[in-house]
């Protein structure tokens, strides 16, 4: 190929030289020519400032002024070239009157036939055969968000976003068209300005030593300041994602950051200040109420009352009030941008301080800077660079290393005894008179104030993109870049905390360093032949290498109490570990797009990926796709249908993959241990195989079919988009149990099939667009059905337990052939009444365990198999965590300088397993050495002989949990449907002042209103966030807040 082009280019170079000389002479000549006037607007009639206007073939150029007007000297019949970053270049001929009048430029991010960013390049939206949607910066510019993934919520169909908790900096679950993988990763790939970043890399694999993998960022996308985002493009179907091959199965989110615009430098300053309170506080029983119930509990087991005279109880600690506060958040940004026709710059800085609702150090601080620079070195070479650095300190409110007594964070805090004074420290488990004083009392206020659990992250991304124009229609793009994420987690629990006390203080120090390199290069050939055949070909290669290095150290027994987390070596008991893993990906890709008269469109792509984590002969995967589209409006027979502006039907099929497994999974690993030998037991090192390799370990493959249509009517005022998709993911990467006679219990293997089918619909309308009044609205709704088609030859159901929590048993079930996300457990039928016992005191209803623990007020279980007893065989499916549909609706209304922005999201038909509420209302005030205070709600509504209700959500006083039942029950299942006014913004833009060009004041209310039947803290919850098998569980999460934000922004 190069042989042919090179001589041609040599000629071209000479030609260029010749023409340059010619132009120079013409330039002198042109001095005498007429002045041409014009005004340049965007499609929505906003004057465009700083548009570069050039007479074609000359060096004669200017830029438009603040009103979009320009004057330029040009010949009649000459061609003006208007170019502006973010808009399509436009050529216009000077008419006989020496005028060009009003010119409109089409934004590249506009949905109206504009250009949209796709993998390795950009494409005209009308020639796409794929399901791709876009979220632009203005959609979320007033929303209070920490990370860019939050900005996606409700903005586009097919994307489900769940905030896992209300903790500052918490993770966000983003799912594009459902979950594909059972034990792999289901997160989309984020590509920032062409550079792929892994959002939570550190948490994905397991280290060789316990205690590692603790250094992680709460949300790995913290490094991107949402202010810097120009647009986010969501690639949903295989036609769009197959170009990302093995990383495309979960969808791809392409993020374009802002760049400077030609013209005078611009300074923008923005400052937001928010205050918030917990949305729905919970009232627990008072000291007296608690004492009364404790005495009743004791009476149940035939024991004397613990509290003598209840009336004398004066201690009445409200632990909720004592441990929560008003949150506040500051968010300030400064942006400097501008540029010349040759070079553009965009430099921004952002600082956020987010102090959470829970006392102590709970909160998040981050600062980030970014510089986006681009330069056209000459007419064939341009270079772009993106540099960003962010530093974040996150103080966790509830550390997993902290437990008082169970590690159930917010739940433990609420359930602590109200009869213990708020400042009590020492031995006392119950707050009872005459306690055994055997256990160290975990005072929630002290726990929160004393513990240190901070994650410190540094994230930097550097990427350089070179674009070389070889011919007018052929260019080469070469990108090189690297990222580094340095994550350090420090935990210290001093001797006054529950876990710190017995060990005389414990400290952990974890350091994880993830660094990656990425290089890609592609050739793009884009040409229109005979005004009919448009060909757009891309051929490229990519290389990506990522290394994770970890060091962990923990110690306990701080004999010198003055030393803490910054000198853990001063403690007597110490443990250290370190770990490293590498993963590499090398790929070649091709994309071929063809369009016939803009009517018939064919999109194809093919990627070959080689990934290091797979078995030696299974490292390579092939990921093809093909899509077709038909732009009906370009047909003759549609020309008369004037109300339809554009209409397109498209269909595509393609294959993508996932490689979300740990490196080295296919290899047999020998790890180290120790064994004491000799008479005095001296440690000697040992080595042993820790697992079996799998020489067949290969890709998880996703096949996706998509059919859709995009229609806009009434002069593009109203546009619709509709999609149906069907995705099959096979060869799921997951552990497979093997007979342990092999010496090993499981291997990582490929088996099983998951299906996701769904419908997506979105509509956007420009209802009013006048100079003084605008009204726009967008609505989208999506439905996804997620089924486990099979698990290979494994047909038995898999029971899912959430472990390490108070119920401890089974919470869900996975059955081949059925939907994923089913909750599983016992159906409760009501409450045991006094009349339910015969003369001998024998229960007349089926019950679990011994009869002795049965008494009125206890819950009754459904005897599903009617065998007269309650056991595991009576469990059943209790509901599903997958919603029937999710939706988002945003509207923007502007009247003169005043605007209102409304954003509503919702979810319908999903169930939530609300363990939090269930445990706060289960009628058990003391159990297993733990105080478990109950809510006032329960106290008021509970079963008593005088109030013989039959609602299992409000049982009577119980001495302990239902015998042998540790699994979920129907009392924990709640309807998680909700409609939420996520944000409401009022904004006033001041008329232009002398110095300050734009001054805007805004007030935003976040989570102002939620319509839901959900009785817990918040229906939008998922405590076990990223795991597909444990979605929709509310377990002691950090509550969400309602907040008000005051914003001020101005530019100069």
């Amino acid at each position: 190929m190069s042989k042919k082009i090179l001589p041609f280019l040599e000629q071209k170079k000479k030609a260029l030289l010749f023409f340059s000389l010619l132009f120079f002479s013409l330039f002198t000549f042109a001095q005498q020519k007429a002045i041409v006037n014009g005004t340049v607007y965007s499609l929505d009639n906003v004057p465009l400032v700083g548009v570069s206007v050039r007479v074609k073939g000359t060096n004669n150029g200017t830029t438009s002024d603040a009103q979009g007007r320009f004057k330029i000297q040009a010949n009649k019949g000459a061609t003006l070239v208007l170019s502006f970053v973010g808009y399509e270049e436009k050529e216009i001929e000077v008419n006989d009157a020496g005028n060009v009048g009003t010119i409109q430029l089409v934004s590249t991010t506009s949905t109206l036939g504009g250009v949209v960013v796709v993998g390795y390049g950009s494409q005209n939206k009308r020639s796409l055969a794929s399901a791709t949607s876009e979220v632009s910066a203005k959609d979320f510019q007033h929303a209070v968000i920490n990370t860019l993934d939050q900005a996606l919520q409700g903005r586009t169909s097919g994307v489900q976003v769940v905030n896992t908790s209300g903790e500052p900096g918490a993770q966000v679950v983003v799912r594009i068209r459902g979950n594909n993988s059972l034990s792999g990763d289901n997160q989309p790939l984020y590509v920032i300005d062409g550079f792929p970043v892994a959002p939570y890399t550190e948490g994905l694999t397991q280290g060789s030593k316990p205690g590692l993998k603790n250094a992680y960022s709460q949300n790995g996308l913290y490094g991107i300041n949402p202010d810097d985002i120009a647009s986010m493009v969501v690639l949903k179907d295989a036609a769009a994602t197959a170009i990302y091959g093995s990383r495309g199965a979960n969808g791809v989110i392409l993020i374009t950051t802002k760049s400077g615009k030609t013209g005078e430098g611009k300074i923008e300053l923005r400052n937001n200040y928010s205050v918030g309170t917990i949305r729905n506080p919970v009232k627990m029983m008072t000291g007296k109420q608690y004492a009364e119930i404790v005495n009743e509990t004791n009476a149940l087991s035939g024991n004397a009352p613990i509290f003598g005279n209840i009336d004398t109880i004066t201690t009445n600690t409200d632990w909720f009030n004592a441990t929560t506060r008003q949150s506040y958040r500051e968010d300030a940004s400064a942006i400097f941008s501008g540029g010349t026709a040759k070079s553009l710059y965009y430099i921004s800085g952002n600082y956020v301080k987010d102090i959470g609702n829970v006392i102590g150090s709970s909160g998040n601080k981050k600062g980030s800077i970014r510089a986006n620079l681009s330069s056209k070195i000459n007419n064939w070479y341009s270079i772009k660079g993106q540099f960003s650095f962010a530093r974040q300190f996150t103080n966790r409110a509830f550390s997993t290393q902290m437990r008082w007594p169970t590690g159930a964070g917010f739940l433990d805090l609420l359930r602590q005894s109200p009869t213990v004074p708020v400042d009590y420290l020492g031995f006392n488990a119950y707050g009872f008179p005459g306690d055994s004083k055997q256990f160290w009392f975990g005072n929630p206020v002290n726990e929160l104030n004393s513990k240190i659990d901070v994650v410190k992250n540094d994230n930097s991304i550097v990427n350089i993109e070179n674009e070389i124009k070889i011919l007018n229609s052929l260019k080469l793009v070469v990108s090189l870049g690297g990222t580094q994420n340095l994550s350090r987690r420090q935990i210290f629990l001093d001797a006054t905390t529950v876990l710190g006390q017995p060990k005389n203080g414990v400290g952990y120090n974890f350091l994880a360093n993830t660094y990656s390199y990425n290089a890609n290069a592609y050739l793009n050939y884009d040409k229109l032949f005979s005004d009919i055949h448009k060909l757009d070909l891309t051929l490229g290669a990519e290389y990506n290498a990522q290394t994770l290095e970890e060091t962990g150290a923990s110690s306990s027994n701080f004999a010198i109490p003055y030393f803490g987390i910054n000198n853990i070596g001063s403690a007597l008991s110490q443990e250290i570990s370190s770990y490293r893993e590498d993963r590499k990906l090398q790929s070649a890709f091709f994309r071929g797009n063809y369009s016939y008269k803009g009517k018939y469109i064919l999109n194809t792509s093919l990627r070959v990926d080689g990934a290091s984590p797979f078995a030696e002969n299974k490292k390579y995967g092939l990921f093809p796709t093909a899509g077709v589209a038909w732009n009906l409006d370009k047909e003759e027979f549609m020309k008369n249908v004037s109300f339809i502006s554009t209409s397109k039907i498209r269909a595509s099929y393609g294959e993508t993959g996932s490689q979300a497994i740990s490196p080295y999974s296919s290899l047999q690993q020998f790890v180290n241990g120790v064994y004491p030998t000799g008479g005095n037991n001296n440690f000697t090192l040992t080595l042993y195989p820790s697992g079996l390799g799998n020489a067949d370990l290969s890709w998880e493959k996703t096949k996706q079919f998509d059919i859709g249509t995009d229609i806009s009517v009434l002069n593009n005022k109203l546009s619709f988009s509709f999609d149906y998709y069907n995705k099959l993911t096979s060869d799921l990467l997951q552990p497979r149990a093997i007979p342990s006679q092999s010496g090993y219990t499981s291997i990582t293997d490929n088996y099983g099939v998951i299906q996701n089918r769904g419908l997506e619909f979105s509509i956007s309308a420009d209802i009013i667009s006048r100079k003084n009044m605008e009204l726009t609205t967008q609505f989208n709704i999506s439905r996804n059905k997620n089924v486990l088609v099979n698990l290979g030859d494994r047909t038995a159901p898999t029971y899912i337990s959430i472990g390490n929590n108070l119920i401890g048993g089974v919470s869900g079930i996975l059955v081949p052939g059925q939907e994923i996300g089913q909750f599983y457990g016992y159906q409760l039928t009501g409450l045991v009444q006094t009349k339910d016992f015969d003369a001998d005191g024998k229960p007349s209803y089926p019950y679990p365990g011994p009869a002795a623990v049965q008494h009125p007020g206890a819950v009754k279980f459904q005897d599903t198999n009617k065998d007269g007893k309650i056991d595991k065989a009576d469990r059943q499916v209790l509901g599903n965590s997958s919603p029937d549909f999710t939706f988002g609706w945003s509207s923007n209304f502007r009247w003169k300088n005043f605007s209102v922005n409304l954003f509503i999201t919702g979810s319908e038909g999903n169930k939530v397993l609300d363990i939090t509420r269930a445990l706060l209302n289960d009628g058990i005030v003391i159990w297993g050495g733990q105080v478990t205070n109950q809510t006032q709600d329960w106290y008021g509504k509970r079963w008593t002989p005088e109030n013989p209700i039959n609602d299992p959500r409000y049982p009577g006083v119980l001495a302990g949990p239902p015998f042998v039942i540790t699994d979920a029950t129907s009392a924990m299942i709640e309807d998680g449907s909700y409609v939420r006014l996520k944000s409401l913004t009022f904004l006033y833009a001041f008329p232009k002042l002398k110095v300050v060009k734009g001054l805007t004041l805004s007030v935003t209310a976040t989570n102002l209103l939620t319509i839901t039947k959900y009785a817990g803290f918040d229906p939008e919850v998922s405590t076990f966030n990223q795991s597909i098998l444990q979605q929709g569980i509310d377990y002691a999460g950090y509550p969400t807040q309602r907040s008000y934000t005051f914003g001020l922004s101005c530019n100069f």
Partner: protein, 526 residues
């Protein structure tokens, strides 16, 4: 102009071709490959010690599960001071194929087999000297034999994995079905015969604690004796046991560095590890720097305060068991603790057989421990009773106790039993008395073969209870029915004592294994 094309083209070609294949080969940093491990003798030795490690390393509940299977199914067992949590349902004979103990014990023994098979397969690759390699192979084969000996006594005929499994393609091994009991014994015997031939008589210095030829002979003798009993009842084995055990008793004791210590409690002392009475043991050592290398057994067995720390005593021995001992017998309170001074309070704790609880004598007779249980037993105490260091005591689940698997008194009693069963009762009695004399118990006078049999069996209970042999002795003698008949249902929480059934002579095959391997068959009756 040329430059702008050539540079990126070179770059393209470079990333596409040159590095392609090799680049994706994985370099491991935090673990090793088998080839690296077995490239020299040091690696071979570390891999061999890795086989030892399989008996004790984390998760350290597994050694306790092994102990539960070997020691709970007998007439004198009841709940401990804190309840019966970890021994339920085994002491009431209500186990099921899904019980964690059974599941974990099975996979843990096969883990030992796998590690041993790996060493056996690669020893000659690591050292060129065959004799040297054979020492490591012999050690590994001993471990493999002992794992199969545990498996065959727990589960009967089990799959014999005779070579290294290093790929899931080896379906003939991974999905092998059970072999007959005799085949398992034959395999164990071959391994032990190899071990006794190639190992040194005993080890010294820092190698003390490794398996010796003496240990191999001792275990081989016990294997023969066991195979002579139920279910195999191989008649030749009594004589073979006599021959094998005689090699290490008497004149052989000096050769193999075996003997009885003068004082019974010294055998278990942490200051006297790997003494000449210990045939073989798994060693544990908790230190400040390597945590999780202690063992949890004493935590579940010791009474609270015995060594100054809280415990969770889940196993108790009835007063009937304590009554089997003569009052002078030094083993009585070492085995079943009838009284102790609780630390740090200094309270005097005494077991009250009338209410089946410990009571606090100092604090006025209040019941110590879990009052929800109407019947708890005396705590088991045959471990070094060293108080834990303050740091260790903060989380008192890591004891530095060695787990003795076989003692020389077991050898003497096995030999006595084999001699008695082969009609040499007169030669058996002195061995029995040697064990009794050391414990300060009265001398047993010569009786009939049947009398001697019952005395030897009783002596094994007195001497060896809690030492990984009681349940297996009962099984080979066929006395389980009598054991259960002798029990008071009140010993078991909720009176959940199952009646005798022939299936109880073996544990059920774990359900998890039956699910994973269709070629396995459940044991009869389960």
């Amino acid at each position: 102009m040329k430059l702008k094309l050539i540079l990126p083209l070179i770059f393209l070609i470079a990333i596409c071709t040159e590095s392609c294949k090799k680049n994706l080969e994985e370099t491991a940093y935090s673990f090793l490959s088998g080839n690296t491990v077995f490239s020299n003798e040091a690696g071979l030795k570390e891999a061999t010690l890795g086989v030892y490690d399989s008996w004790r390393a984390d998760p350290n509940f597994d050694p306790f599960y092994q102990w539960v299977l070997a020691e709970c199914g007998q007439q004198y067992v009841t709940a401990g001071q804190s309840g019966d949590g970890m021994i339920t349902p085994f002491y009431g004979f209500e186990e099921t194929p899904s019980d964690l103990n059974i599941t974990n014990v099975w996979s843990r023994y096969y883990q030992t087999v796998a590690r041993a098979n790996t060493v056996i397969a690669h020893a000659n690759q690591a050292v060129s000297d065959t004799n040297k390699a054979n020492i490591y192979i012999a050690e590994a084969r001993f471990h493999r034999a002992y794992a199969y000996f545990m498996l065959v006594r727990d589960f009967g005929g089990v799959p014999l994995i005779t070579t290294e499994v290093n790929s899931i393609a080896q379906k003939d091994l991974i999905y092998a079905s059970q072999s007959p009991v005799q085949d398992v014994y034959n395999f164990i015997i071959q391994d032990l015969q190899f071990a006794e031939t190639h190992l040194p008589p005993f080890w010294k210095g820092n190698d003390l604690g490794r398996i010796s030829a003496g240990a191999a002979k001792a275990l081989l003798g016990k294997v023969y004796l066991t195979g002579a009993g139920l279910p195999l009842q191989n008649a030749q084995y009594y004589q073979l046991a006599v021959q094998k055990l005689s090699e290490i008793v008497g004149s052989g004791e000096a050769t193999y560095n075996f003997g009885l210590l003068a004082n019974f409690s010294d055998v278990f002392s942490d200051n006297n590890r790997k003494n000449k009475e210990v045939v073989f043991a798994w060693t544990n050592l908790w230190t400040e720097t390597y945590s999780h290398n202690g063992i949890i057994l004493p935590y579940f067995l010791f009474p609270t305060g015995l060594v100054g720390t809280p415990t969770q005593t889940v196993y108790g021995l009835t007063s009937a068991f304590h009554n089997l001992y003569e009052t002078t017998d030094t083993r009585a309170d070492m085995t079943a603790i009838s009284r102790y001074i609780s630390q740090p309070s200094g309270d005097s704790i005494i077991y009250d057989p009338t209410i089946h609880h410990y009571i606090n004598k100092t604090q006025g007779g209040s019941v110590v421990g879990n009052t929800l249980f109407s019947y708890t037993g005396m705590a088991y105490g045959k471990f070094g009773r060293t108080p834990l260091s303050p740091t260790q005591a903060a989380v008192p689940t890591d004891y530095s106790t060695d787990l003795i698997q076989m003692r020389f008194s077991d050898v003497l009693l096995c030999l006595a039993e084999a001699l008695n069963e082969t009609g040499q009762t007169a030669q058996a009695i002195p061995l029995l008395n040697r064990v009794r004399a050391r414990a300060n118990a009265s001398e047993y006078s010569v009786g009939s073969q049947d009398e001697a049999r019952s005395e030897i069996r009783k002596e094994r209970r007195l001497e060896l209870t809690g030492e990984y042999t009681t349940v297996y002795d009962i099984r080979r003698w066929g006395t389980l029915k009598d054991e259960i008949a002798a029990m008071d249902p009140a010993q078991i929480l909720n009176n959940a004592l199952a009646p005798y059934s022939a299936k109880l002579e073996l544990y059920p095959i774990p359900q998890k294994e039956l699910d994973a391997n269709p070629n396995l068959k459940q044991n009869p009756g389960w």
